[in-house]
């Protein structure tokens, strides 16, 4: 089998800045004194804490119970004593019920952490239960529970699983490091997901600015696995689910529908690795890989971090700030969320902590639209961002809807490219929210 090449239409070429962390080894950050684990680590209903102040917990022990179908359990990432169960600041900007554990540095594993066997001996349902009980969610940023993704309604005809390894967000090198260091685990996780869905076709799509990762993954797949490696043109937003599906399968997800309507399930590199660890080691999702980088960081690193570790702890592990940070972003620069405090825990959605100095954090003043049409040519969905934005600012949301505002994937390419520095995607987001709100009211 050969490596195939492909891409999508539209998109932009932002400065990638991956060289800050790309060639440094993946490190494991020293265990923190305290972890703060919010009971909301996924999209969907928050968990119910099942421990109380004073309880002794072991690493991997259940501390939050899933609450409904679109919810997954949460586990302790260290061993030690529960110091508090109280609301704490979450990266979403709100205070969320959290379990605070003081680390005893013993790393004593909970007795449940044992291998669940090998793929051949497990049924699809058993694998799905392992994934659910390990608290696995999509680690690309959306944190959608993986077991839900792997439970398509019977009328959906799924025929392939794609591993999203594009990592098109500038600065971030988490997937890149995982693929170079653990290619075999990722392939194992992919095969597990293929088995759950009963499909025999798998794809791994990687942007071509990661040649070592492409090579490592190519070596890790066996001819009989029926897994193809796609080398994707380096272009943002190549890792947007819909654009990835178009590049790899040539299919389009119908407007308003989900990838499963195109017969595809897409999962992230880190998620596949977590699936592998959950099956073979019995290890729940209590760690993830985070890139801590940016112009205000002394020594940018990509590191393995326990869920609940304070962002401050990571910044210190990178030698602290080299200059005063003007902006701290949870995620990458294109879709990440700016934080007002660094006193927040790493959650399952934290792919990067980007700290920008004053120059990089500069927010330009928007000026009048010159109708250059650059937003139109870069939009991966082929929308007309200039008009949706204009109608949104005039609060004419019906008009926004007729210009297909709801199909916007919020990649931000339009705002990036705009020479007049207009905040196009922000106003489109407002329009989407208003359209959805008014359609709910109507029902």
């Amino acid at each position: 089998m050969d490596i195939k090449h492909s891409t999508f239409k539209g998109g932009i070429h932002p400065p990638y800045r991956k060289e800050l962390t790309k060639d440094k080894p993946l490190i494991t950050v020293a265990a923190p004194e305290v972890v703060v684990i919010p009971m909301s680590l996924h999209i969907g209903a928050p968990c119910k804490p099942v421990v109380k102040k004073g309880d002794k917990v072991k690493k991997g022990q259940l501390i939050g119970e899933a609450n409904g179908f679109v919810s997954v359990p949460i586990h302790a990432s260290v061993s030690g004593e529960v110091k508090a169960v109280e609301p704490r600041l979450h990266p979403n900007g709100q205070k969320v019920m959290s379990v605070v554990i003081e680390n005893d540095m013993e790393e004593s594993l909970h007795e449940d952490i044992i291998s669940r066997g090998e793929l051949e001996n497990l049924s699809p349902q058993e694998i799905k239960d392992i994934i659910l009980n390990a608290g696995i969610v999509g680690l690309g940023g959306a944190t959608f529970p993986t077991h839900v993704k792997l439970s398509p309604p019977p009328d959906k005809n799924i025929d392939c699983v794609i591993i999203n390894a594009a990592e098109c967000e500038p600065y971030l090198t988490t997937d890149d490091h995982l693929m170079r260091d653990f290619p075999e685990k990722i392939v194992y996780g992919l095969k597990a997901m293929m088995k759950v869905l009963g499909v025999d076709k798998g794809f791994i799509g990687i942007e071509d600015n990661k040649p070592e990762a492409i090579e490592a993954m190519f070596k890790a797949v066996d001819e009989k696995d029926n897994i193809e490696i796609y080398s994707l043109h380096t272009k943002y937003p190549q890792g947007s689910e819909k654009q990835l599906i178009a590049a790899v399968t040539g299919r389009e997800v119908p407007s308003g529908a989900l990838p499963m309507d195109a017969g595809v399930v897409v999962s992230n590199v880190g998620t596949a690795l977590a699936v592998s660890d959950a099956i073979r080691l019995g290890m729940p999702l209590i760690e993830r890989v985070v890139t801590v980088t940016g112009s205000a960081i002394t020594d940018p690193q990509t590191m393995i971090v326990k869920i609940g570790t304070s962002v401050n702890h990571l910044i210190e592990a990178c030698g602290g700030f080299s200059e005063p940070p003007a902006k701290v972003i949870n995620g990458g620069p294109m879709m990440g969320i700016a934080q007002f405090s660094t006193d927040i825990p790493v959650i399952k959605a934290t792919s990067g902590i980007l700290c920008l100095n004053e120059k990089d954090a500069y927010v330009p003043e928007p000026s009048q639209c010159i109708r250059c049409g650059k937003c139109v040519s870069v939009c991966p969905v082929k929308l007309l961002p200039l008009y949706i934005s204009e109608y949104s600012l005039r609060r004419d949301f019906d008009k926004c809807k007729s210009y297909n505002a709801l199909d916007c994937v919020e990649c931000g390419s339009c705002s990036f490219i705009c020479p007049a520095k207009r905040t196009l995607v922000s106003s489109i987001r407002v329009a989407k929210r208003e359209i959805i709100a008014s359609s709910r009211k109507g029902n």
Partner: protein, 313 residues
């Protein structure tokens, strides 16, 4: 740790390095070869007219924004400079100074600022001003005014139109290409305009679609009509119009299909005027006509969005 000074803003957190000013400055740079060609073939007076138009345009923009529209003055975005140069390029070398001034004021004050400034004008300001001057002082704007070295020369397209004996006086291809012909200040050198046009495409200021389809359409139609398409390409205002005027952001469609329809329309109207109309030249009117059709073209050329389901438009 002091977190009091963290900026919180909506994503994306990085922006492309270009701006309205750098884009407009690129257009000015792209117009420079034609400016130099104008000085070489028509004399230093072409530079003076251009300078006068630029200064008047910029001053008008500043005064309008400050005192009439009561908005922020944005003359440092270079757009008034572009309008001034383009208007000058559409004037004959013999144009009196007051015509340059009146045209510039009209272009900026009426066509651009009254409709909301940059990005809002529904027709090309420089071309609208040209049409205004042509209607007001026809003799000063038409072929009798194309003076070179103190003798009056007809433009190549006028000669072509007249036909018969006049056609024997047609300049050579080489003169046409380099710009050693009669014509408006900025339109004479096809070579210089080509350099500028290629620069704009390479710098991604404009796409190739409008100029290539516009020029292609004119060449095909004139060829079918039995005339020399190369002549129609290099004589008159086709190169200037196709690369620099029809591509005006404000007054041309933003959709891909729309740009092709628009350029096709420009090409057809130009050819019809040149072949069968009363004027020897039709580029400026064709662009103005397609400018006003732009909103309509856009409405009927909406791109098919990703994942669009049939019948769900």
């Amino acid at each position: 740790m002091n977190n009091e000074f963290l900026t919180v803003s909506s994503s994306p957190h990085i922006r492309a390095s270009h701006s309205t000013a750098t884009v407009m400055r690129d257009v000015v740079i792209a117009l420079m070869p034609a400016f130099v060609a104008g000085i070489i073939f028509l004399g230093i007076n072409s530079a003076l007219i251009t300078l006068l138009c630029v200064v008047t345009s910029v001053v008008t923009e500043a005064l309008m924004q400050k005192y009439v529209m009561k908005r922020t003055v944005t003359i440092n975005d270079w757009s008034a400079v572009v309008t001034g140069i383009l208007l000058a390029f559409n004037l004959p070398i013999s144009a009196p100074w007051w015509m340059a001034v009146i045209g510039s004021v009209f272009a900026i004050a009426i066509v651009k600022q009254c409709f909301g400034g940059i990005g809002q004008n529904f027709i090309n300001p420089a071309l609208a001003a040209r049409a205004f001057l042509l209607a007001s002082w026809p003799t000063r704007m038409t072929s009798s005014a194309f003076l070179t070295d103190s003798y009056t020369a007809a433009t190549p397209l006028a000669l072509l139109k007249e036909g018969g004996e006049a056609a024997t006086a047609l300049p050579s291809y080489m003169d046409l290409f380099m710009g050693n012909i009669a014509g408006s200040i900025g339109e004479i050198s096809a070579f210089a305009l080509l350099i500028g046009g290629v620069y704009l495409i390479v710098r991604q200021v404009i796409s190739w679609r409008i100029p290539v389809v516009f020029i292609g359409t004119v060449m095909v139609i004139t060829f079918i009509a039995g005339q020399d398409p190369l002549y129609h390409l290099m004589a008159g205002g086709l190169m200037l119009g196709a690369f620099f005027m029809a591509t005006d952001y404000s007054s041309s469609p933003v959709t891909v299909k729309g740009q092709i329809i628009y350029a096709l329309g420009c090409g057809i109207i130009t050819s019809v005027i040149r072949l069968w109309g009363g004027y020897p030249e039709g580029v400026s009117y064709s662009i103005l006509l397609m400018n006003v059709a732009t909103p309509l073209i856009e409405r009927f050329s909406m791109p098919r969005i990703y994942g669009e389901v049939k019948g769900d438009a």
